[in-house]
Structure formats: structure tokens, C-alpha cells
């Protein structure tokens, strides 16, 4: 762990990335405390430009934009992390089974994975959310369940390589069960590349949620950055400040996550190919 941190902090950009993500996480957790105004309250002064009183201005019905951007981090980060976790679990499971057992099982699972990868993800996401409804839970599940193929293939590759290693041979000749070999012998060694790809997936999921909300397919009951941008679009010239600040929030969060991902590549030093 100490060794890991030593290598991680050598990459200055990765430390900045971690800082950015921590700031946004803090913001999401303490949103109700930090936000200067109630994000749903109409303050009667519409389209105010940024000022001391309203650092990010107000929107078309006079709500404080800073408070809305702070509250928006809740949805973005929740969707980003939970969708990435779901995708990581499915990817690990399928990759492990495929790589460990090989043969017919591998053939079927990998064909399925390739097929899913060839289908344009965004439009599938769009119609699925449109049909099943755009609650946060649905969005998390759908993004997560559509994002695993990359991780699965990566994990499968690791398993293929690792299962031929002498220490696995040894475990097998000692009579360890497949289950035990997969979970306690191979998986820990196959984990680093999966961690990196899942980290980058957090960023992708945040971007996807933002795009859905921008199109009006976000959770109607929650505030999210994509939704703020989508509403700003309707009267973009007067909402320039809303567009700039909510977009910057998405950009900085995703940038932070991608910087962490790059840092992890160096720190964990997995055999990860250039994305």
C-alpha cells in the first residue's frame, strides 16, 4: 500500500486528479450544507449574471445556479460510481469464467461479448431508458449492464495468461476447487487492469448520464449537470453562465477521474494496452 502510494504520487497530474474528485465527492456528500440557497426555491430574479450574491447567477425561474450545480454532483457521482461497480462485477464474473474454463463456455461468452461491443451503446442506452423510464436506479442499472464488455475481455486475457502459471498448477494439484482457485489465487492477480478500466468507466458513465439528461432522459425528480445544460440550451444566450458552470463541473469531475486512471496505470503497472 505504501509502495503503491509512493508510485502513485510521482505522477503529479494523478494527485491533482484525486484532489478534484475528492472535492466533488465532498460537495456531493455535504450538498445541503454547502449550498448557499435552496436549489428548488424561486428567488424571483431570473437570468441574473454571476455576482457576489449569486456567484453562478440565477436561472430562468430565478433559482440559484451555484446551489443547483452543487446538488447536481450527487446524481453524477452516484451514477458514475455505481454504474462502474456494476459493470466491473459483471465484467469480472464473465471474464473470469470465460478465461478460466475456456473451451465452449469461453466461445459462447466471448461471441456474446463481441456482439454487445458491436452494437452502438449510446443509442441502445437511449431507447432502453426511454422505454423503462429514466429514474436514477434505472439509469445506473442500464449503464452498468451495457458497459462491461471491455472489462470482461481484459479480465479474460489475464485469466488465460495466469491459469498456465506454475503456482496455479500447484494449487490444482493440491486439489483446490475451481472456485477457490478463481477467487483466491487468480483474481487478485488479475485485478489491477480491471481496476484501471473500471476507474475510467466511472468517467464514461458520468458523461453518458449527462448526455441522457441533456436530451431530457434524466431523472426528472433530481438535479443533474446534464439536465442543467439541457435546460440552458433552450435559451442559450441568456443562460450562458448556467452552461459554462454546469459543463465545467462535468468536465473537471471526469478529468479528475481520468487523471486518477492514468496514475493507477503507473502505480499498479498492469499490462494495460493504450486505450
Amino acid at each position: 500500500m505504501k509502495e503503491f502510494w509512493r508510485r502513485y504520487k510521482k505522477n503529479r497530474a494523478a494527485v491533482i486528479g484525486a484532489g478534484l474528485v475528492i472535492i466533488f465527492l465532498f460537495q456531493a456528500v455535504f450538498a445541503p450544507v454547502i449550498a448557499p440557497y435552496d436549489p428548488f426555491k424561486y428567488l424571483f430574479h431570473t437570468y441574473l449574471p454571476p455576482s457576489w450574491e449569486h456567484p453562478f447567477g440565477t436561472d430562468n425561474v430565478g433559482r440559484d445556479v451555484l446551489s443547483r450545480v452543487i446538488h447536481g454532483s450527487i446524481v453524477s457521482l452516484t451514477v458514475g460510481f455505481l454504474a462502474a461497480i456494476i459493470s466491473a462485477l459483471v465484467g469480472l464474473g464473465i471474464g473470469a469464467i470465460s478465461g478460466y474454463f475456456g473451451g465452449k463456455i469461453d466461445e459462447v461468452l466471448m461471441r456474446g461479448t463481441e456482439i454487445l461491443q458491436m452494437i452502438p451503446r449510446f443509442f441502445l442506452l437511449l431507447i432502453t431508458v426511454a422505454v423503462f423510464g429514466s429514474g436514477v436506479v434505472n439509469i445506473i442499472l442500464i449503464i452498468g449492464l451495457l458497459s462491461w464488455p471491455g472489462t470482461a475481455r481484459l479480465v479474460r486475457g489475464e485469466f488465460l495468461a495466469l491459469k498456465e502459471m506454475p503456482f496455479i498448477e500447484a494449487a490444482r494439484s493440491l486439489g483446490f476447487s475451481s472456485f477457490r482457485i478463481i477467487f483466491s489465487e487468480i483474481l487478485p492477480n488479475a485485478l489491477p487492469p480491471a481496476i484501471v478500466s473500471s476507474t475510467l468507466q466511472v468517467g464514461d458513465a458520468i458523461l453518458m448520464e449527462a448526455a441522457l439528461s441533456f436530451l431530457g432522459l434524466g431523472d426528472p425528480g433530481a438535479i443533474s449537470w446534464g439536465q442543467l445544460l439541457g435546460r440552458a440550451q433552450r435559451n442559450i444566450w441568456r443562460s450562458w453562465h448556467i452552461a459554462i458552470f454546469s459543463g465545467a463541473a462535468i468536465f473537471l469531475t471526469v478529468l479528475g477521474i481520468n487523471l486518477i486512471g492514468d496514475g493507477l496505470i503507473d502505480a499498479l503497472n498492469p499490462r494495460l494496452k493504450e486505450r
Binding site: 452494437i119 452502438p120 437511449l126 422505454v131 423503462f132 492514468d262
Partner: protein
């Protein structure tokens, strides 16, 4: 002759992968219609009060009173006959609506992607020539930023800056509605409208191409044959453009093919911001109106186009570069 056999084998392997993918796309769509909350009729006719005759007609058309496997067969045959359903709002076939918007999208995407490949290759070569130089570092950070940018936000910033604040370009649409230009004036009018949306897509794609080119160029440049060529006194210019670039081009074309879905999704968002009259606007309006047949038809159309485009790219590339077939 042996090459002929492997070529055929390659083709067959590709087809074996493409057919189930096409079926999967359609099957997913079919399942969505049936798994959706409510019944398929509501999805196909929308929230409007459909007349009993219309419901009857739809039930017959999709065989909704028959068994699921029969319905699937009917669904498949509808699609293969080019019947992608009918829009609720426009009361016109979905495919007809898509085709009426397609040329605008293709113009936008074609321009942006072509430019991005040319500029991206150029940037990638400059970066690869002197790794870790100032230019290289700038190009690397640029591609990192591009990976983190929501494209619709970039579009909005470009729109606000160049169209609203500076007033250099029109704020949206494809032509100036106040004038009816003809001939060369029309072309210039469209180009003026095209510039900002194309710039948006181009900037993001360019970053991807530059990064890829850089990686593969650095790898190619360290190989023996390049070092030999260098030793033989081949000029750097010739070395980069003729020997190295040819090899670096392949990943760029492959990745562009694989990213087509992302590119179309990006173009959709960009079209919405710039009111570009392509399929993106159609998607946006369909989402607002909950016009499910348009969304479903659009998904099938885009998915199939991408799968077929990738298939053709692969085949053409395998013809051009025999090494591909042996992988």
C-alpha cells in the same frame, strides 16, 4: 492459392460474426417492446388516444394476437422489407423520416471526420517526431482534455463564443432562412453554417487520432526497417510520410470504424446544440414527444449501418493488407 483459401476463410469468419450481431440488434429491440411497462400497443401508438381501428390495424400488422415466436418472425420480416414502423407524431414511415434527415448528418460527420483524420495524423506525426517536446506534451494534454469533455458542452461553448459573442458565424440551422441563395452563394451559406458544428466534432476526434498516430508512429519508428532506411540516408520527411505513416494509418482507420457509434452519438448531440437539421434533431424531438417508433427505428437503422460499415471496412482492409487476415 493458399492465399485464396485464407481469404475466403476470413470472409466467412467475419460473416459468422456479423449475422448474429444483426439478429441480436433486432432481438434486443423486439424484447424491449415486449418487456416495456404497459403493453406493446401503447408503445407503438403513444399516449394519444388511438382509435379501435388503428389498434386493430397495429395488432394485425405486428401479429400481436399471435404467439411470441410468430411475432418475432413478423417483426424480422417487416424490418428486412424496410418497414421500420411509423412515427406517432408525423404519421409517416420512420425510414422515410430518417432518410429525409440523413444527408445533413452525413455532410456534417463526413466533413468533421475527414478533417479530424488529416489534422490528427499531422499532429500525431509532429508529436512522435520528438516525444516529450513542448508540442508533444501539448498534444497529449489536449487529448486527455478531449476524453473528459462532454461534446454538447464543447458545442455550447463554441456556439456562445463564435456565434453569439463574436458573431462570426450563424447561430444555428443549415441555411439562412431570410435569404434563398442559389448556386455558389448557397454552397457558401451552407459552409458558413457547417463550420462550427464540424469544428466541434473535429476537435474531439482529432485528439483521438493524434494520440493513436503518436503511439503507433513511435512504435513504427523504432523498428529495424526504419532504422535501416535512416542509415541508408533516406530523408526524414520521406521516412515519416512514406514508410512510417503507411503503417500508422491502419489503427487510425480501424479505431475510426469501431468508434462510429460514438461519432454518431456525438454528432447527434452537436446537431441539437446547433439546430442542424439532421437525424440528431429528429432523435431530440422524438425524445420530447415520446415518439417510440422513431427512437426504435433509429436505433435499428444506426446499429445496422454501423455493423455493415465496419464489415465493409474490415473486408476492404483485408484486401489491401493481407496481414489482417492472419490475425
Amino acid at each position: 492459392m493458399s492465399q485464396g483459401i485464407s481469404w475466403k476463410g476470413y470472409l466467412i469468419r467475419r460473416i459468422i460474426l456479423v449475422i448474429p450481431t444483426i439478429l441480436a440488434v433486432i432481438l434486443i429491440n423486439f424484447s424491449l417492446i415486449h418487456l416495456a411497462p404497459g403493453d406493446p400497443i401503447t408503445l407503438l401508438t403513444g399516449t394519444m388516444e388511438a382509435s379501435p381501428e388503428y389498434i386493430q390495424a397495429m395488432t394485425e400488422k405486428y401479429g400481436l394476437d399471435k404467439s411470441l415466436p410468430e411475432q418475432l418472425v413478423i417483426f424480422l420480416s417487416n424490418i428486412f422489407r424496410g418497414d421500420f414502423g411509423k412515427s406517432i407524431k408525423y404519421d409517416r414511415p420512420v425510414l422515410e423520416l430518417i432518410f429525409s434527415r440523413l444527408s445533413a448528418t452525413l455532410l456534417l460527420m463526413g466533413t468533421a471526420v475527414t478533417l479530424s483524420i488529416v489534422i490528427g495524423l499531422f499532429l500525431g506525426i509532429i508529436s512522435a517526431r520528438k516525444p516529450y517536446s513542448l508540442t508533444d506534451n501539448l498534444a497529449t494534454s489536449f487529448s486527455l482534455f478531449a476524453r473528459s469533455l462532454p461534446i454538447f458542452w464543447l458545442a455550447q461553448i463554441i456556439l456562445l463564443l463564435f456565434a453569439f459573442y463574436l458573431g462570426w458565424f450563424p447561430t444555428g440551422g443549415m441555411t439562412d432562412l431570410r435569404h434563398t441563395y442559389t448556386g455558389i452563394a448557397y454552397v457558401f451559406d451552407v459552409l458558413r453554417h457547417l463550420f462550427l458544428p464540424a469544428l466541434t466534432i473535429c476537435l474531439l476526434r482529432m485528439a483521438v487520432t493524434a494520440r493513436l498516430t503518436r503511439t503507433s508512429m513511435i512504435e513504427v519508428l523504432s523498428q529495424d526497417y526504419i532504422i535501416t532506411a535512416k542509415a541508408k540516408g533516406v530523408s526524414e520527411r520521406r521516412l515519416l510520410l512514406k514508410h512510417a505513416l503507411r503503417n500508422a494509418l491502419r489503427p487510425v482507420i480501424t479505431i475510426t470504424g469501431i468508434s462510429l457509434g460514438t461519432i454518431i452519438a456525438g454528432a447527434t448531440m452537436t446537431e441539437i446544440v446547433f439546430s442542424w437539421p439532421g437525424i440528431g434533431r429528429l432523435v431530440y424531438e422524438a425524445v420530447l414527444d415520446r415518439d417510440y417508433p422513431i427512437l426504435m427505428g433509429m436505433y435499428i437503422f444506426i446499429a445496422l449501418s454501423i455493423i455493415i460499415a465496419n464489415f465493409i471496412t474490415d473486408i476492404v482492409y483485408a484486401l489491401y493488407d493481407p496481414r489482417v487476415r492472419y490475425q
